[in-house]
Symmetry: C2
Subunit: 218 residues, 2 copies
């Protein structure tokens, strides 16, 4: 193939992002809070998974949420119903959360009251993978309707994250999604990746994910 | 809400993109080719819609395809099976196609042999909406499993495109997707937007979309 422009983008788009991410981690450490960065395509089920996680674990773990969106407060409103502290970050059109945005947002979060802070990143399978937000754990969600080929086409995010949650498994019955093919692709890209399969809507498979959240709490 | 950073990103990220998009259009005009830019989240069904469109119209319209991806040739291979010219553009990690990339890519396309050139943009509901690729028509796809709230959260792309294709309507039976709510949101954001509802997998609803493609051919 000729005449194709290849642009190499480094892990860090902004030169100071590494330094700022370290500042975010210092701040989290000072209050003993673990931050989990949830990344996925639009509509992969990030908000629903968070809501069901809060419903299941809210009594045993002090959870807070930062919702990042271009616009609207749809997700923050959905999470607020579950009675946990939630901050809506508007990125003003920006396609992902970086450490600077997170640093500013933490000024509005009472970290001392939280064991785990979830960041629901902007719905985007590409750009969020390029910035360290300061989170301790990066989690990718992939929904069954998106298809099992996504690791081939968006490899960066599937390499970066330590955990993959395959969501909307209730759609497996009406889909040609091949779970073995997905696992084969992940084993090549990121052999150590932990994989959970669940439907937050039906509750099927939630226990494995919830146990993982319990395991990383401070 | 305090301490929230709002970053205003203009319609054009690159200062010369408007000029380059005009060059792309000049080049298309010289060979009488219409370019249609297909944008959507990962897994919304862009490739399947294109494949079924080629299968239905390939005998009456000379169609070519540019597949844009971070990596892999999965989609180009899927399209090549249908016997039309296809060029795989690798963006090298870049999250969307801009006019410069398109200009370079057109050097590898025999436009004189084409009535319609489809660009399958990178799977991303955010960044592609910020760059003019030089296309004559911008089409957004939204799949039923993504949910009817997406125009609230990703308004830029739903404002930019003249056509919305609601894909994977075969999932409506197992989803709580509210088509009236979607249409209400679109009528606020972009009242002139044409909406087609279809399942490329089952063929249901394809005729409206195919008639639109016929209507824009040169």
């Amino acid at each position: 193939m000729k005449d194709i422009r290849l642009i190499e983008i480094g892990e860090e788009l902004h030169s100071d992002n590494i330094r700022r991410a370290a500042l975010v981690r210092e701040r989290l450490a000072a209050s003993g809070t673990i931050m989990i960065n949830i990344m996925a395509s639009p509509g992969a089920g990030k908000t629903t998974l968070l809501a069901e996680t809060i419903r299941a674990l809210g009594a045993e773990i002090r959870i807070g949420v930062v919702e990042a969106d271009l616009d609207s407060q749809v997700d923050a409103q959905a999470i607020a119903r579950y009675g946990v502290p939630v901050v809506q970050m508007h990125t003003g059109g920006f396609c992902h959360v970086d450490a600077f945005m997170m640093e500013k947002t933490l000024e509005a979060v009472n970290l001392d009251a939280l064991d785990i802070l979830f960041l629901e990143n902007v719905g985007n399978l590409i750009c969020p993978a390029q910035s360290d937000t300061g989170a301790h754990h990066d989690v990718a969600l992939l929904s069954v309707p998106e298809g099992d080929d996504k690791p081939l086409k968006y490899p960066v995010i599937f390499k970066k994250c330590g955990v993959l949650v395959l969501t909307k498994t209730d759609y497996l019955a009406v889909s040609d999604f091949d779970r073995a093919a997905l696992r084969g692709r992940i084993s090549v890209l990121n052999p150590g990746m932990q994989i959970f399969e669940l439907s937050a809507r039906t509750g099927e498979g939630m226990e494995g994910w919830l146990d993982w959240v319990r395991s990383v709490r401070p």
